[in-house]
Structures are given as structure tokens and as C-alpha cells.
């Protein structure tokens, strides 16, 4: 029930912010489109933890600034390496374990790894990720598991 309400509220807020029109006709159309979207989502049975993760979004909003800082840090590192004439890279592939239990959590972690320049998730098999790293430092960064723990926190109880 809370999930349905959260989805409807989320859709309504999204509509209001995207439209910018607040006269009765447009608000009526907005209500109609929110209702239709909600109806289709319920009929498709996608209003679950994956389709409407309302509790996850709050924790993800806290995680996002940290992720952006990591992305900027590794961007600077990759940029420095690209511009160094000797091109100091040591590419490697390795596998690592993810401590997340849900599909959403694993997707979030795999995407976070890929989003950070210097590391790309090539394959996901259950909780084993195959990762390509540009340098040994970026590989160590993933192995140290700081990001893994953060994502597991975001995942929480669901």
C-alpha cells in the first residue's frame, strides 16, 4: 500500500516538475496521465521492490554525492595517466565478490564500478563480478571494498 502511494506521489511530483503548467485543465490532464501510468504499472505487476524502490531512493540520494566524489577523483587520475607521455597503465582483469543480496543492490554496485573511470564491470555471475581495471591502484581500490560496503548500506533491508 505504501509502495503504491509512493509511486503515485512520485509520478505526480514528476509530472508537476516537468510540466510547469498549473491551470485546472492541465492539472486534470496530469491527474489522468498519472492515473493511467499507475494503472498500467499495476497491471504489469512491476510495482515491487525493483519497480518502485521508494525506501532505496532516499538512501541512494545520500550515496550519490559520495559516488560523484569518487568519480571525480578517479577521473583526475585517469586524465593524468592519459597525459603522461609514458602512458603508465597496467590493465588487468580480475574477479571480486559483491556482498549485496538483491538484484537492485548488485546492479547499483556494478554500475558504480563502471561509472568510475579506470574500472569496468565486464560480467556479473550471481555475486561474482568480473572487472577490467586500467591500473593496479584502481584494481586495489575495488578489492578494498569501500564502495561495496557503501552500496550494501544503501541496499539495506530493502
Amino acid at each position: 500500500m505504501i509502495r503504491n502511494l509512493a509511486l503515485a506521489a512520485g509520478l505526480a511530483v514528476l509530472w508537476l516538475l516537468l510540466s510547469g503548467h498549473y491551470d485546472p485543465l492541465f492539472l486534470g490532464l496530469g491527474v489522468a496521465s498519472v492515473a493511467l501510468t499507475f494503472f498500467i504499472a499495476s497491471r504489469m505487476r512491476v510495482v515491487d521492490q525493483e519497480g518502485a524502490p521508494h525506501t532505496l531512493i532516499v538512501r541512494a540520494a545520500i550515496y550519490l554525492p559520495w559516488l560523484m566524489r569518487e568519480v571525480i577523483k578517479s577521473n583526475v587520475d585517469v586524465a593524468r595517466r592519459i597525459l603522461t607521455p609514458s602512458l603508465p597503465i597496467a590493465p588487468r582483469t580480475f574477479t571480486t565478490r559483491a556482498s549485496q543480496t538483491t538484484a537492485v543492490g548488485r546492479v547499483l554496485y556494478a554500475n558504480s564500478i563502471t561509472l568510475t573511470p579506470g574500472t569496468v564491470t565486464i560480467d556479473v555471475r550471481q555475486n561474482e563480478f568480473e572487472i577490467h581495471a586500467l591500473t593496479s591502484e584502481s584494481a586495489e581500490e575495488v578489492r578494498a571494498g569501500r564502495m561495496d560496503r557503501r552500496v550494501t548500506q544503501v541496499e539495506g533491508a530493502g
Binding site: A79, P91, S112, T114, P117, I122, H132
Partner: protein, 96 residues
């Protein structure tokens, strides 16, 4: 932001094989694109457009890793060895 895009481009040219080039391309999408959006947000000020730019940013950081991952997986499926160094051409080489 132009610097980020330019370094990303230089990286794509300098990297020795497909998988290392992905990292350089990743620079353009994780640094250049968000900076462009940030600049546009500063230009629009505190309006609804700011929110729309933020929404574009969110979509971008969800979809771009998915695309990168698809690319990497397809490349490996296609038989490109991540640890192999491809034949590279120096600028000015004649490529048959």
C-alpha cells in the same frame, strides 16, 4: 569541460586496446557531460529547467554504465582478449 572531453579523446587515441579505450571514453561521459549539465544549470538559475537538467543527469548516470557494460560484454563475447595489445598505428603511418 572541454578539457575533459579533449583528454578523453586523446585517451581513446593513445590507449593500446579496446578495453583500455573504454576507460578513456568513460572520462567523457562521467566528467564532460555532467559538467556541461552543471554549466547549463548555473545558466538557467533556480527554475524548473534546473530540475529537468538534473533529471537528464540522473538518466545519464543510470544508462551510460549500462551501455559501457553492454559494449564490454559484447567485445569479450566477440573474442577480444582484454589482455592482448592490438596492433597500433603511429600518426602518419599508411594503413592499407
Amino acid at each position: 569541460m572541454y578539457t575533459a572531453a579533449a583528454i578523453g579523446g586523446i585517451g581513446i587515441l593513445r590507449m593500446p586496446n579496446f578495453f583500455t579505450r573504454i576507460h578513456a571514453a568513460g572520462m567523457a561521459e562521467t566528467m564532460c557531460a555532467p559538467l556541461i549539465l552543471l554549466a547549463m544549470m548555473l545558466q538557467t538559475g533556480w527554475t524548473l529547467t534546473t530540475f529537468k537538467l538534473l533529471a537528464i543527469f540522473l538518466f545519464l548516470i543510470i544508462t551510460s554504465p549500462a551501455a559501457t557494460h553492454a559494449l564490454a560484454k559484447a567485445a569479450r563475447h566477440g573474442g577480444i582478449d582484454p589482455n592482448e595489445v592490438e596492433e597500433t598505428y603511429e600518426p602518419g603511418d599508411r594503413v592499407a
